[in-house]
Symmetry: C2
Subunit: 464 residues, 2 copies
């Protein structure tokens, strides 16, 4: 930025005990030593400082020269003065290491990340431009924490049309993604007296939020038709967490019979289901299957997100809540924050109503279908002994071996070759089967990389 | 959108008991009656449906015609088929009213909202464009929940330079605004065993988050030099919530002596302060005063936000935490959500480093200074008996009357004239003074509206 407009926290006291030049030097020196002005950053020019402080320019020039002599400032003819890169600084205390380690692998097979290079930047920017054009001054205020109406309307239309969700826009709350939806759900369940939450087994390995809210988790087995509803009915669960469209992580699609049984159980037990419809937009060779929510809208909280369709970076999700739960969710949200940014909500609404969202989904579905084919072809060639499942939808395959692999050794060897791996075993609360199952995401790699990486992986497995 | 690309959840079973046409009709009818397809919304054309379902087009045309005859669809030559506005629908149950009532007044004197019409849309869009250009594919992934490094770096520079905050970028966490910062603080304090939190009195009227976390609030009086540190030292408080730069809502600037006393108390008690630096960028006729954090960085959590500088709609804030608290805050954040949208974080970083943020602040400061002058001029004319204070910074004035007004009656009369009012009385935890004080924001109205509204207000007060 031009130093002309730079703001700086400095003042001089005409009647102070020290001279104005000494005051100025002292403040600049302290600001640099204390880290308030950082190495390489611009400081205001002598002209601007003289003007802002209403003191003479030669006096500022002398102060600058003194600080340059002391090694604090770097002055060059015709350039803005800067803090010297080697300026003396107070030692700052040791900081803890950054606590969320985001390992990035060249070949990442771990499920959960879509193709990040496909974010539709140009279209998104166009939608943002349109959003800024239609936003009225009041739309730049606080508004309602649970979301802007145009987005809730666009989602009600979209979810009804594409996912069979039965929703009035007023039943839709905008969240910062499934993590916030889940946090709201955990606290709301607990506050309503729910103590035991059934979860699919295998299922999500990340359980901290439920446990922190004081809920006990009851693992219910998943078979080739989805969660075992008979076992669920025998349990004391008052709520259940589900991924019916594409079970996470087995990829099983819940059968129609099970869906009906589950809807009946929800009504009979007066229970609540949280349906995480995380990647159902991506289906390949089976008929689309609507959301469970459409079968029992009074008992299902439907959760969706842009994390798999556009990218996790947007941090935008939604929940469709039975109307008698809306105020409870809003109460919990009020204890967390004041809602999502309104500009990106208007932008997503534009992106959906313009048809760009549907177009992007079609494009991505074709891309992922090709990558899935490439994955299947290589696996059939290189790992003939495995059984592949869960591939009719979503972004990853379950690859089951006829024996138990040395999973730790294989993961480590893969990591060393720049590959991220995930096994099914870590997703069980109850005992996992003896045989090993690899979860292989085909979403984030171009086909050629996918082939190379899979062949390397097959070689690692063959050698262990 | 063109119906060509519209996604729709419909499938037909070639081997089902009903004819394919009957299946199609039934599904469309159910989707419309159940609200999944909403009145006025487009349905796919016969051509697209026939292609997607792999059935003959005449068959789809007959299904459409049947549904039009039943009143579900509106068909017009050359136009995409739509759900009829009068389509039969299942009754949806009554929904509760929207629970956050955002009253909008034509003349809003209530503090807390900047001039919403001044949002720098064009510059922001430019920054978003630049951000999208520099973001690498991985930047569209999950990343670290506490914020992207470029924004934390830009803020460390900015806060050091303009607010005297001593921060390493690693000590900065990005939040969705002060509400999330406060929620993180409340839970972290509680978890560290703090039970009593001192608050300025008068202070924030919104106390729910602290109470919900199980903290007891201790009101400490504010005088013309800021919070009474001697009274604070006599209290059992282990933490304190402060607005030193421009006390909310009295507008008092904390004196240098009090700051030093407070910094000493923090060290002696080993206590923590949450410094809410909510509108300190706007100062008019006094020397800038740095953040308290600079005096005691190991004991102060500094909180800032774009809500007053750019607008509440962005939902972007930050906290600068002592390094020994970073992991505790991250722990609490993990139980809430997965962080802010990364695109807007990169955008704000661009907006700051390009100099646009400083330029915008200069522009707004001039605008607000003019509005403040207009406010003072009218008040001096129309309400000669009042005492005005708290106007050297921020966006509102404290207007103190020599007597107690009938505040409820005046507020109601003002509301009826389209005016939003806020009195100081509601901000006290302990007993408020007998005399009435009005909080008058001059931020959100152009000067002419401000004058008109103030004259009307003066007339209302004179009549009561």
């Amino acid at each position: 930025m031009s130093s002309r407009d730079a703001e700086l926290l400095i003042s001089v006291d005409r009647n102070g005990p020290a001279s104005m030049q000494a005051q100025l030097e002292r403040q600049l020196r302290d600001a640099i030593r204390g880290g308030m002005l950082r190495p390489g950053s611009e400081v205001p020019s002598t002209r601007d400082l003289a003007r802002d402080l209403a003191i003479s320019r030669p006096l500022v020039m002398e102060a600058h020269a003194q600080l340059a002599a002391e090694g604090y400032l770097a002055l060059r003819q015709g350039a803005a003065p800067r803090v010297a890169d080697t300026a003396p600084r107070q030692q700052i205390q040791d900081l803890p290491p950054e606590s969320v380690l985001t390992l990035t692998f060249r070949y990442d097979f771990r499920p959960g990340i879509p193709d990040l290079a496909s974010f539709p930047s140009a279209r998104w920017l166009k939608a943002a431009e349109a959003a800024l054009r239609i936003m009225a001054p009041n739309d730049f205020g606080y508004g309602q924490r649970y979301g802007v109406l145009p987005l809730r309307q666009a989602l009600a239309d979209y979810l009804g049309r594409v996912r069979g969700v039965s929703a009035d826009p007023r039943q839709i709350l905008i969240t910062s993604g499934f993590e916030q939806t889940r946090a709201l759900m955990a606290r709301t369940l607990k506050r309503r007296g729910v103590t035991e939450l059934a979860v699919e087994d295998p299922g999500y390995s990340d359980r901290e939020v439920w446990l922190a809210a004081g809920l006990k988790l009851l693992p219910i087995a998943v078979d080739e038709n989805g969660i075992d509803v008979a076992a669920l009915a025998k349990s004391p669960a008052q709520a259940v967490l589900l991924t019916p469209a594409h079970q996470s992580p087995t990829g099983v699609v819940m059968s129609g019979e099970r869906r009906l049984a589950l809807a009946n159980w929800l009504r009979q037990r007066n229970a609540i289901a949280l349906e995480d419809d995380y990647d159902a937009e991506f289906r390949y060779d089976r008929a689309p299957i609507g959301a469970l929510q459409g079968l029992a809208p009074d008992h299902v909280v439907y959760a969706g997100t842009t994390s798999k369709t556009l990218g996790p970076a947007l941090r935008l999700g939604w929940m469709v809540a039975p109307s008698d739960l809306l105020l409870a969710f809003e109460d919990e949200m009020r204890l967390m924050d004041c809602g999502r940014g309104r500009l990106e909500q208007f932008t997503l609404a534009q992106f959906i109503t313009s048809g760009d969202y549907d177009r992007h989904l079609r494009k991505m579905r074709a891309l992922y279908r090709d990558r899935r084919e490439a994955l299947l072809a290589v696996i059939t060639d290189e790992l003939p002994e495995v059984k592949i499942s869960g591939i009719s939808a979503g972004l990853h395959a379950n690859v089951r071996f006829p024996r138990r692999l040395d999973e730790a050794v294989i993961s480590e060897a893969a990591n060393k070759r720049g590959m991220g791996l995930s096994f099914l075993r870590g997703h069980y609360l109850d005992d996992a089967p003896e045989e090993s199952t690899l979860l292989l995401s085909y979403a984030s790699m171009p086909e050629s990389s996918l082939r190379t990486a899979l062949r390397t992986l097959a070689a690692i497995i063959a050698g262990n």
